[in-house]
Amino acid sequence: MKKIWIFCVAFLATVTMMMGITKVDAAQPNYIITTDATYPPFDFQDKNNQYTGIDQEILKTIAKREGFTYTLKPMSFNAATQSVTSGQADAVIAGMSITDERKQVFDFGTPYYKSGIAWAVKKGSAIKSLQDLKGKTVAIKTGTAGADYALSIQKKYGFKVTYFSDSDTLYNDVINGNSQATFGDLPVLQYTIKNGTKLKVMNPTNPYEAGWYGFAVKKGDNAQLLASFNKGFAAIKKDGTYQKIVNKYLGAPASEFTGSKSDNSSVFGILKSNENAFMKGLWQTILLTLFGIILASIWGILLGIMGVSQNSVIRGISTTIIYIFRGMPLMVLAFFIYIGLPGVIGTKIPAFTAGVITLILNEGAYTGAFVRGGFKAVDKGQMEAARSLGFTYGKSMYKVIMPQGLKIMVPSFINQFIITLKDTSILSAIGILELTQTGTLIVSRNSQGFRVWAIIAVIYLVVITLLTWFSNWVEKRTRS
């Protein structure tokens, strides 16, 4: 038992040191810029797992010209915009339409792309006009201009709406017939269709509410970054670079960015062409899991010990902490820590750290509950016997109650480890590039939902099987 703890502590120390070394200060200003992870042709990962697209090339070109560097944080559109308003990031470029409502919280740069809202249905659908949508379901992406537009005409045409946070799942929902139509930005829909998604745009020539996309910073902040962007944009517009970028993405065949057909049409091809991405995602998942398991167990055992304390105040604190964090959905907690908290405490929290804290608090609360239960399950006579010999309460706990309680808890611990591993997938919501987020990105590029998710599912099963074997081995060791 002791050896296992020593191993865990040494592991954590090593990894923490490794992570600390990677941060190097630069003389140039370095900004954190968020983007939508799945928004082709503006923002997406290409076949080499590099973020690219119209937005990304514009940003890269301007940064080079104007002499600033940035760290790109791809996440869901909503998280990308909220990260900026909460101060976690400096700017967002994510095919974001400039609206009056958004102008109240963002300062926009020079509008860089004219777009509009289009609606699309499944290829071969019987729906011909907006009137046909009566009683049907429309899929929309949370927080987008397309969603706002759909909601504004919802009453008039009498359809229901269903929300998604990433585009690919949304398109598949329409293709699979769960919903019958979607509203989105015209160039995005067109690019997707060109890429093989079986949808049909209903108003390709006359988009609704034609408007402009803008690069945005939090209102009142980062004026220098905004000025640099505007200056650079004016320059690339003038010298024709801008038009070249747009043509490159809207004119080129899709395979240029998404990989050849053979790379995408078989499980082996997908595995081979995305080997790096899968390995990186898996490593992040494993890191999150290990940090989560070890730290949440320590925190949980502490909560459990507090929960059987002789002092009613300490017991109350433990009960309250367990009550709060067990009662809160993991994703809400992740958003609260990553997006909510920095605005209040005034410091940025890296996504990985936020993710680990989320796991500690959530999994730790569950662990605390079963640890407390395990200690209480030890026969009361054991404590009385220890006390009658002259042991203090603390020593009785340590020498007699805890070893027996922990033995009772071993199956609960193994169960909690597996849950923790699976729960790391929820942290994809705050943009951590773990296995699930990796899957989302690959699917958004190659539209091979079935094959990619099957691969991801198998990887999870393999890791969980290994974890279970390891846990059972540990359990056997503690038995003997």
Binding site: D379, Q382, E384, S388, L389, G390, K399, V400
Partner: protein, 248 residues
């Protein structure tokens, strides 16, 4: 009885659980080397009284002096006092996470800072005394009830206590196991240990006790030598109790 001989001095102790007044103005002195057996119907307060002598229960008021320490005083280090009071429970309460030998060695090593070699030597001697030398390295779960109780006695004795408390030590045993445990207790009594025993074994009480104390309704109704209590009971309730016990 002179001051020096008094091992346990209890004066006007009361205890209530809510409405239930379990002990009413109990006073009792017990001398060194004395074996006191407490009898009485269930719920009469005898177990509660016993558990107060090492503060597993605390009195509402009154004074309890054990081994020269006033344990009703909050400033007394109860853990130190308990080291000199052995206790044997109805349900044995052996530590399930240790072997037989480890159960006996734990307290001397941890509390008296005895080195492991000396502690083990002593533990093996005690195992021989209770007739279970061959069980030293067994997990406690493999023992029978009677064996467990004899190990529990050995565990308490390992701390070389001045006083031993027994809380219905044979009540949870199969009848054929009772004799072995009582034999160990008899030997202990003959060796001069101060013992306070709550039991329903009347035959044992007659044989071993220096004094028998009869509890009923939270009061000591009668006490005296076994001959006085069993053969010439004065108290009406004691007479009633004895007639029930002997008919059973």
């Amino acid at each position: 009885m002179s001051e020096a001989q008094v091992k346990v001095h209890v004066d006007k102790v009361n205890k209530s659980y809510g409405e239930n007044h379990v002990l009413r103005d109990i006073s009792l002195d017990i001398a060194e080397n004395e074996v006191v057996v407490m009898i009485g119907p269930s719920g009469s307060g005898k177990s509660t009284f016993l558990r107060m002598l090492n503060q597993l229960e605390t009195p509402d008021n009154g004074t309890i002096i054990v081994d020269g320490y006033d344990i009703s005083d909050k400033n007394t280090d109860i853990n130190k006092v308990r080291e000199n009071i052995g206790m044997v429970f109805q349900n044995f309460n052996l530590f399930n996470n240790y072997t037989v030998l480890e159960n006996i060695m734990l307290a001397p090593v941890e509390l008296k800072k005895l080195d492991k070699v000396a502690a083990e030597k002593k533990a093996r001697e005690l195992l021989e005394t209770v007739g279970l030398s061959d069980k030293a390295d067994m997990p406690v779960s493999s023992l029978s009830g009677g064996q467990k109780q004899r190990i529990a006695i050995a565990r308490a004795l390992a701390m070389t206590p001045d006083i031993m408390l027994f809380d219905e030590p044979t009540s949870a045993l199969d009848p054929e196991m009772v004799g072995d445990v009582l034999d160990v207790m008899k030997n202990l009594a003959e060796s001069g240990m101060t013992m306070i025993i709550v039991t329903h074994e009347m035959g044992f009480a007659k044989q071993v006790a220096d004094r028998v104390v009869f509890f009923e309704s939270g009061k000591i109704q009668e006490s005296g030598t076994p001959d006085q209590v069993f053969d010439a009971p004065k108290n009406e309730r004691l007479q009633e109790f004895l007639s029930k016990v002997t008919h059973a």
